[in-house]
């Protein structure tokens, strides 16, 4: 490259470039709004107001964000190992079976604070098992994990349809879902946590305890990836499988463990809608949250500190999008799917699109950083 380029400072690398990518994604989404014949700025105002304008809105935003924290962490853990777990959707869906079975068994017997830990374990275990097979096939038989996890999404969907229209449906019921869960399997709402900030939240808003679990998991993931030997091995393998092999890290073990952690995290997402909101297992309760996780992980640069805000942003899009669909019927919730796609495109596949430009600008602003970069390269 003949143009001088600067080594970017950390804040530009981790703050500025993702921000530019995000802004471009939203600008293109704005064009779609324009194409539909609405004012994108007006739409943005309604969206933000719907998500953050009231205690109600904030609670709903955080409820949706809970799902995306789980699935985003799931995708991120796999990314660190150089794996693309596109199967979060299926892992979460099938984990709903684990949660459902535990809840159906214990909801009349145990109080929620005993059902909850068992359900967490069940969700994590089933999610992890669903990720285990693709992981094993990748590690031992060399089949591509992206394809197998996509296939497993479809297999999970078929299995759940079979179970929900058959064995899990109460006798005589019409709707393909389990019976309503009793109080022993209903998570307490935590809307009251927002009250000290002067916000009022109706008890019907499904913002519940699993949000806290999601935050705990974010810390756990951070600790595993950056503070344990396992995390070091995962990152080493992700950075250079050759180096990992040379260092004596077992390829099979690391792929399988990483994917099982990833599947477990995706599986825990099932807790939020099942125990926190609908109080039953219904068809398609995941409704795309597993895929949103991909966008969230890419946006958050696979770091929990980035994933939580990214999840809240997508929660905002879901909640604000519902309000927006009410005000502007032409813009339904499917708008979010477009935004999700654009974020994946600009923050993921095209993440280096603006880097050379930014580097050139930095170089022209401070020639010192160029010489520093050159020195750094020599060293």
């Amino acid at each position: 490259m003949s143009t001088p380029y600067a080594k970017l400072p950390g804040w530009a690398d981790y703050g500025l470039i993702p921000l530019i990518n995000l802004l471009v994604a939203f600008a293109v989404a704005g064009l779609v709004v324009l194409l539909v014949g609405e004012n994108p700025f007006h739409a943005a105002v309604i969206l933000v107001d719907g998500a953050f304008g009231s205690g109600q809105g904030i609670a709903y935003t955080l409820y949706y964000a809970t799902n995306f924290i789980f699935t985003g962490l799931a995708v991120a853990v796999a990314f660190h190992c150089g794996l693309f777990n596109i199967g979060g959707e299926g892992q979460a869906y099938i984990a709903g079976l684990g949660v459902g079975v535990v809840c159906l068994a214990f909801d009349h017997v145990l109080p929620w604070w005993l059902t909850f830990p068992v359900a967490i374990l069940a969700a994590a275990a089933v999610g992890a098992l669903w990720a285990l097979i693709p992981a094993y096939l990748q590690a031992r038989r060399g089949s591509h994990i992206v394809i197998t996890t996509i296939m497993f999404n479809f297999i999970a969907a078929s299995a759940m349809v079979y179970l929900l229209v058959g064995p899990l449906k109460p006798r005589g019921a019409m709707a393909p879902q389990t019976r309503q869960l009793a109080e022993g399997a209903q998570l307490p709402k935590i809307g009251f946590l927002l009250e000290p900030f002067g916000l009022t939240v109706r008890p019907s808003v499904p913002f519940n305890l699993s949000f806290i679990l999601a935050l705990v998991m974010a810390v756990v993931v951070w600790a595993i990836i950056w503070r344990t030997k396992l995390g070091y091995e995962i990152r080493t393998y992700g950075f250079s499988p050759k180096a990992a092999r040379y260092a004596g890290i077992s390829e099979t073990r690391i792929i399988i463990i990483t994917m099982m952690i990833s599947g477990a995290l995706a599986g825990m997402m099932a807790l939020n809608p099942i125990m926190g909101d609908q109080h039953n297992v219904s068809l398609d309760f995941v409704s795309g949250a597993g895929f949103v996780g991909i966008a969230v992980a890419l946006m958050g640069r696979s770091h929990p500190a980035g994933i939580v805000p990214a999840a809240i942003l997508f929660g905002m899009l879901y909640q604000g999008g519902a309000e927006l669909a009410f005000e502007m019927p032409a813009i339904s919730r499917d708008m979010i799917v477009i935004i999700q796609g654009l974020v994946i495109l600009f923050a993921g596949a095209l993440e280096h699109l603006f880097r050379p430009t930014v580097q050139t600008i930095f170089a022209s602003l401070s020639p010192r950083s160029v010489s520093m970069a050159a020195k750094g390269e020599r060293a």
């Binding site: 779609v32 194409l35 539909v36 014949g37 693309f84 596109i86 097979i133 096939l137 038989r141 060399g142 089949s143 591509h144 992206v146 394809i147 197998t148 996509i150 296939m151 497993f152 479809f154 297999i155 078929s158 299995a159 349809v161 079979y162 058959g166 895929f291 991909i294 890419l298 032409a330 813009i331 339904s332 499917d334 708008m335 979010i336 799917v337 477009i338 935004i339 999700q340 796609g341 654009l342 994946i344 495109l345 993921g348 596949a349 095209l350 993440e351 280096h352 699109l353």
Partner: protein, 323 residues
């Protein structure tokens, strides 16, 4: 006699179901043989179907619909190419992005333009690709077996279905008998060698990706303009992924790709046919199992139990010229 009729019926619906799979599968073949993985077949088919149906409804012409459908699909392909060839982004991430963009925008734009809950207006026969009766099909209808096969199985499909099956030998010829095909395969195996020979890796891959766009566009238009009389939201329903599975199943070869698509199509046709009827020996098979069968088969194949599928060596790896 009734048995033959049933077989021909199933055969006929197998062909109908297989056509979009086959077109998408061949589309993926061009791209992946050139070293560009394409998860976005699904999205491009969907966008092609929507654009085709929308244009056909506005201009009341199937041909304009087909043209626009192919155009939009090629444009999405170029986005994929721009991200994964020019900017060396992650090809899988880019494909996933295209799937979402297509899934969302077809619904939003469809609702905004036509106001029918994400559908496009129902197309009259002259704006669709109707079925073509092959010469002599009516005369031969009563000849047992051969006549029935000719008139019931081979005749009566839409033009695009014949295009799909003719695309199989054509693709074979392009890949294995032309200079372009040789280079295309080479760039998927060893791009550095192609580069050393003074051929542009990027331009070759772009051409491959454009071929993909054209074929996914036709696949989408077949669904919207032949199988159905318009676009319904999410009408591809995972066929792009099944096509991808068929491609792996066929080990990235055109003729086996056709048989793989026919097999998956047959399973689908059988699933519809057998809904609720008990089978000998196994009893009643849940429909869901039949629907999941292509995916399960693919996983088993990928696991290497039915021969090993080896992808093009440079697949998924962006080409960086040595400096």
């Amino acid at each position: 006699m009734e048995f033959v009729d049933t077989l021909i019926n199933i055969g006929n619906s197998t062909i109908r179901v297989s056509v979009p799979l086959l077109l998408a599968c061949l589309a993926g073949l061009y791209s992946e043989r050139s070293g560009v993985f394409d998860i976005g077949l699904e999205g491009k088919m969907l966008a092609g179907a929507f654009a085709g149906a929308a244009a056909a409804a506005v201009f009341q012409s199937a041909w304009i619909g087909l043209g626009i459908g192919m155009l939009i699909s090629v444009m999405l392909s170029l986005v994929h190419g721009f991200a994964s060839i020019t900017h060396r982004g992650n090809q899988i991430v880019s494909g996933v992005a295209i799937n979402f963009i297509a899934a969302g925008s077809t619904i939003i734009l469809g609702q905004a333009w036509f106001n029918q809950g994400g559908r496009t207006p129902s197309l009259p026969p002259e704006a669709r690709f109707g079925s073509i009766t092959l010469p002599g099909a009516d005369a031969l209808r009563d000849v047992p077996v051969i006549g029935q096969l000719y008139s019931g199985l081979l005749s009566g499909h839409s033009l695009l279905a014949y295009v799909a099956f003719l695309a199989v030998p054509f693709t074979w010829w392009v890949l294995f008998r032309t200079r372009f095909g040789l280079r295309l395969r080479a760039v998927g195996e060893n791009p550095a060698a192609v580069d050393t020979a003074g051929i542009s890796v990027a331009w070759l891959r772009y051409r491959a990706v454009i071929c993909t766009g054209i074929l996914t566009g036709i696949a989408g238009c077949y669904m919207a303009l032949s199988q159905n009389a318009g676009f319904v939201k999410d009408m591809t329903a995972g066929r792009g992924y099944i096509a991808l599975a068929a491609l792996i199943f066929a080990k990235w070869k055109p003729v086996p790709a056709m048989f793989a698509c026919l097999l998956f199509g047959f399973l689908d046709a059988l699933a519809i046919r057998l809904q609720g009827t008990p089978l000998p020996l196994v009893g009643k098979v849940p429909v869901q199992l039949m629907q999941a069968l292509p995916y399960i088969l693919t996983v088993i194949l990928l696991a290497g139990f039915i021969g090993k599928a080896i992808p093009p060596r440079a697949g998924g790896v962006p080409y960086v010229k040595e400096r």
